[in-house]
C-alpha cells in the first residue's frame, strides 16, 4: 500500500468535507449573559487580593525565622550588645586597613 497516496486521499477527503458552521440556538444570548455576569478585571483589586493572600505565609515565615534565630543563637561567640556587633561589622574594613599599615 502506498502510504503517501493514502495520506493524500485522506486529506482530500477532509478537504471535500468541510465541517458544518451551524451555531446552537441562542448562542449569542448565552455569551452575552455570560459576559454580563463576569465582573470586569480590576487589576488593583487583584493585586490587593494577592497581597492579602501573601501576608499570612510571610508572617508565618518571619515568626519561624525569628524563633529559629532566637533559639539557635550561639551564646559563646555573642557579644554583649547588638550595637557592639554592628560597630564591629561596620568598622571591620577600617580595622583591616590599619593592620596592613
Amino acid at each position: 500500500m502506498d502510504l503517501e497516496q493514502l495520506r493524500q486521499k485522506l486529506l482530500a477527503t477532509a478537504r471535500a468535507n468541510p465541517p458544518e458552521d451551524h451555531v446552537p440556538y441562542a448562542f449569542e444570548k448565552r455569551i452575552m449573559a455570560n459576559l454580563s455576569s463576569k465582573p470586569a478585571l480590576d487589576f488593583r483589586a487583584l493585586w490587593a487580593r494577592a497581597m492579602w493572600r501573601a501576608a499570612a505565609p510571610c508572617v508565618g515565615l518571619s515568626l519561624l525565622l525569628g524563633a529559629w534565630s532566637l533559639f539557635t543563637a550561639n551564646d559563646t561567640t555573642a557579644s554583649e550588645s547588638l550595637s557592639q556587633d554592628f560597630e564591629q561589622a561596620m568598622l571591620a574594613v577600617v580595622d583591616q586597613t590599619e593592620e596592613t599599615w
Binding site: 502510504l3 471535500a16 465541517p19 455569551i31 478585571l41
Partner: protein, 223 residues
C-alpha cells in the same frame, strides 16, 4: 438621534454589521441605523457591552466551523467557542483595527483550539480504537484499487478523523491549516504566532507523523 434600542442583528458584508439599532430623531421618526464593525468595537470599548452581540452573531459560524476541525464532541466545540468570545471581549482593547476584526478573531480562535488540543493531549492515545467494518472495507478497496475508494464515503471521513486525532497538537494544527484548509505558510505563521521556519519544520514533522500512523494502521491490517 435622541434615544435608541437594539433589536435583532443581521450579518452583511465583511466590514458592516447591519442591525436594527432603532433610533428616534427629534421629529419622532423611527429609522434603523447601520453601524460598522469599527463603531461597534468602539462602543464596546466605551462600556456598551450590548454592541458586542452583533459581532458574536456574525462571526460565530466561522468560530464554530473552526472549532469543529479540532474537537469532536458538541459540548467541547461549544466550550471552545464560548472561550473564544470571552477572550475576544476581554482582549478587545488589544485589537488595533489595522487588520480586519475577522483576522484578529481567527487568530484567537486558532490559538484557543491549539490550547484545547494541548490540554486534551492525554486522551489522544486512548482515543484510537480499532477500525470499524466500513473503514476496514474502505481501506481494502483503496489497497486493491486506490481510485475506487471514494473520498465522500462516511468510512473515509471517519478514518481521517481517527488519524487526525492521533496526531500531536502541533502536527494536527499544521496539517489542518496547511493541507486541509490550504493556507500558506505565512498565513499559518500569522495565525499561530510561530515563525515561518518553525511552521515549515513542524509541517515536515507532521507529515512524517501522519505517515507513521498510517503505517501502523496498514501494518496492523496487512501484516
Amino acid at each position: 438621534m435622541s434615544e435608541g434600542f437594539l433589536t435583532q442583528a443581521k450579518p452583511l458584508s465583511s466590514s458592516t454589521v447591519a442591525f436594527n439599532f432603532v433610533a428616534e430623531n427629534s421629529f419622532g421618526i423611527v429609522a434603523p441605523v447601520e453601524r460598522t464593525e469599527a463603531e461597534l468595537i468602539a462602543a464596546v470599548l466605551q462600556g456598551d457591552a450590548a454592541s458586542f452581540e452583533p459581532l458574536v452573531q456574525k462571526y460565530s459560524p466561522r468560530v464554530f466551523a473552526t472549532a469543529r476541525r479540532y474537537a469532536r464532541l458538541e459540548r467541547e466545540i461549544e466550550d471552545i467557542a464560548q472561550e473564544v468570545w470571552v477572550k475576544a471581549f476581554q482582549k478587545l482593547q488589544s485589537f488595533r483595527g489595522e487588520a480586519p476584526f475577522e483576522h484578529w478573531l481567527m487568530r484567537l480562535t486558532v490559538r484557543t483550539c491549539y490550547d484545547f488540543l494541548r490540554s486534551h493531549q492525554r486522551n489522544r492515545e486512548a482515543a484510537f480504537s480499532e477500525l470499524s467494518e466500513p473503514e476496514d472495507d474502505w481501506l481494502d478497496r483503496f489497497a486493491v484499487q486506490p481510485g475506487s475508494a471514494s473520498e465522500d464515503a462516511d468510512a473515509a471521513r471517519l478514518l481521517v478523523q481517527k488519524v487526525l486525532a492521533q496526531l500531536s497538537p502541533p502536527a494536527r494544527l499544521v496539517i489542518t491549516l496547511l493541507e486541509i484548509e490550504e493556507r500558506s505558510v505565512k498565513e499559518i505563521s500569522e495565525l499561530t504566532g510561530w515563525s515561518v521556519p518553525l511552521v515549515k519544520v513542524r509541517a515536515f514533522r507532521a507529515r512524517a507523523e501522519m505517515r507513521k500512523i498510517l503505517a501502523r494502521i496498514a501494518k496492523g491490517k496487512y501484516l
